[in-house]
């Protein structure tokens, strides 16, 4: 079954969301007899049929272990798997597919870098710099590293609007700064950080930079060569692909220098009890049988993006968030959390006097799926002095009509909870 987007004429000027929606079976779901409105895309996106079908066709037609079989199926599976590395490399414009390492997700990518490159570069008294809007997955691995090395984790503060000031960023870079890891696009505030400029600043001092692009690759074109970042991480499941797969991009020279992450099969060149020599990059970092099926289906997610009129899709997302912001601000008591001038297609908010969780539960009764709480960014909530927010996050397959349903449901929730 082909996704409709494939047969759609790319040159049509209107972005036809109705046609796009037909590619995503889940979007037709009824929740408690109401039309599902899925606004929890920043947690995980829905999947087009092409991705779902790829999973079954892999298992039905060419399930085999890869890189080791001499037979027909293994060759077919190996080809399909390796091809995704090339697709992923092109997707972020890596200079070679060898710079693409498959991991379980953004979290594993960051842990991998912290426990290999990080361990190599950071020593006692050194500093690792992050920002105040990191996801826990870009805090804890560095904290663990700093604890082990007796190094110091330093944090660039965020403003009331949820932005980073470059001057503050600059002033926190010292002679002891050995690594910088920053989120490209905040999952709780929606802020898009000036990462290119931040990398340029770090580059002047020769400090390697890692970019958490989990929320970024979904809503804009990310080019690792243009950014000139040393490492970059993202997750398949947030960009139409299956769970359990992610990408770590790393500059070739770093990947070659770094020690392996885990030991096992696939990552070795030869093993004896006296001495093991490691396989080449990227295999050095992919110990054991990989997540073959999900990687192959992830390739379909990238294909979907490639066939999509991305400019139109991203523009549509921008319009959605603009519309949602406008409608939300009309409601008495609503306060938008995160008012950065550069923002992605999500909106976090609170309602005066009301608990975010209560609101989220009511929206659920109306079939509207949002996320409530701290969104794995507790320091952001502490900074804003709130326990949590309600977050609605949009994807190109969402519509203004859905935003209307959400706004109506929200108004009802406020009325009910204020009784």
């Amino acid at each position: 079954m082909n996704d409709l987007v494939q047969v759609r004429n790319k040159t049509t000027s209107v972005f036809d969301v109705d046609i796009i929606r037909q590619d995503f079976p889940v979007l037709g779901t009824m929740a408690y007899n109401k039309k599902l409105v899925y606004f929890d895309n920043a947690a995980t996106s829905q999947k087009p049929s092409s991705v779902i079908n790829k999973l079954t066709s892999y298992y039905n037609e060419y399930n085999a272990n890869i890189h080791r079989g001499v037979h027909f199926l293994s060759r077919k599976a190996t080809d399909a798997y390796d091809n995704v590395r090339t697709l992923a490399a092109k997707f972020v414009n890596a200079s070679t597919e060898k710079e693409i390492i498959f991991v379980r997700g953004t979290t594993e990518a960051i842990n991998l870098v912290a426990s290999t490159f990080g361990k190599m570069k950071v020593g006692e008294g050194d500093e690792v710099l992050i920002t105040g809007m990191e996801h826990h997955s870009n805090i804890v691995p560095w904290q663990m590293l700093c604890e082990e090395k007796r190094a110091k984790l330093r944090v660039v503060p965020i403003s009331e609007k949820g932005e980073i000031h470059l001057e503050e960023f600059k002033s926190l870079i010292t002679d002891r700064t050995k690594f910088i890891s920053i989120v490209h696009t905040s999952n709780s505030l929606g802020t898009v950080n000036p990462v290119k400029e931040m990398i340029r600043i770090a580059r002047e001092k020769n400090i390697p930079v890692m970019i958490d692009a989990a929320q970024a690759v979904v809503h804009e074109n990310v080019d690792v060569q243009d950014l000139d970042c040393d490492f970059l991480a993202f997750s398949s499941h947030k960009m139409l692909g299956p769970t359990g797969v992610g990408v770590l991009y790393g500059k070739m020279k770093h990947l070659e220098d770094m020690p392996p992450y885990q030991g096992g099969g696939e990552m070795i060149h030869s093993v004896s009890f006296e001495k093991t020599s490691y396989n080449e990059v990227p295999h050095k970092f992919e110990a054991g049988t990989p997540n073959i099926a999900d990687v192959i289906a992830f390739g379909e997610a990238i294909n979907y993006y490639n066939k999509l009129d991305r400019d139109a899709a991203f523009l549509h997302e921008k319009e959605l968030v603009k519309y949602a912001l406008k409608r939300l601000q009309e409601i008495e008591g609503v306060k938008i959390i995160g008012q950065a001038s550069e923002r992605t297609s999500l909106v976090s908010f609170i309602v005066r006097g009301l608990n975010a969780f209560d609101i989220g539960m009511y929206l659920d009764t109306q079939g509207v799926a949002v996320r409530t709480g701290h969104h794995c960014t507790e320091p952001v909530m502490d900074r804003m002095q709130i326990p949590g927010t309600v977050r609605a996050s949009f994807m190109f397959y969402n519509t203004k009509e859905e935003i209307e349903i959400f706004i109506e449901a929200l108004k009802k929730a406020i009325k009910l909870l204020n009784k």
Binding site: N355, F357, D358, P387
Partner: protein, 147 residues
Amino acid sequence: MVQSENMNGLATIENDIVEEFTLFDDWEQKYEYIIELGQKLPELNQVYKKDEYKIKGCQSSVWLNSYEENGRIFYEADSDSTFVKGEIAMLIRVLSGQKAEDIVNAELGFIDRIGLRQHLAMTRANGLAAMIKQMKLYALAFHAQKS
């Protein structure tokens, strides 16, 4: 509410709640009812709104005070979530004023029977599951002390 010694008051109240919930056909109505219960929950005295009484959850917190009177255990509680307060109201209705032993052994099957189990699972992060545990622990401690 006084329960006769040989009647399991706890189970009776659970049945009453289940019966009341049969009036509602969908999740929205159940939600509204629970919110109503939450809005009616008596206020907890400010002296108990302190950290030592607080059960911190991921999305909301619960404050719980427990005490014993004439061999029975009583609870009063509050939360920053009205929905959680509604759930507290039901738990208090079932457990407060019961004998320690009955509280310890309570299976609280009504949560399942009124179709709130899924939602309770979601609220694991909300201090409610921790609150049930805390209620039982208090009863257990009292029971152990007595025997």
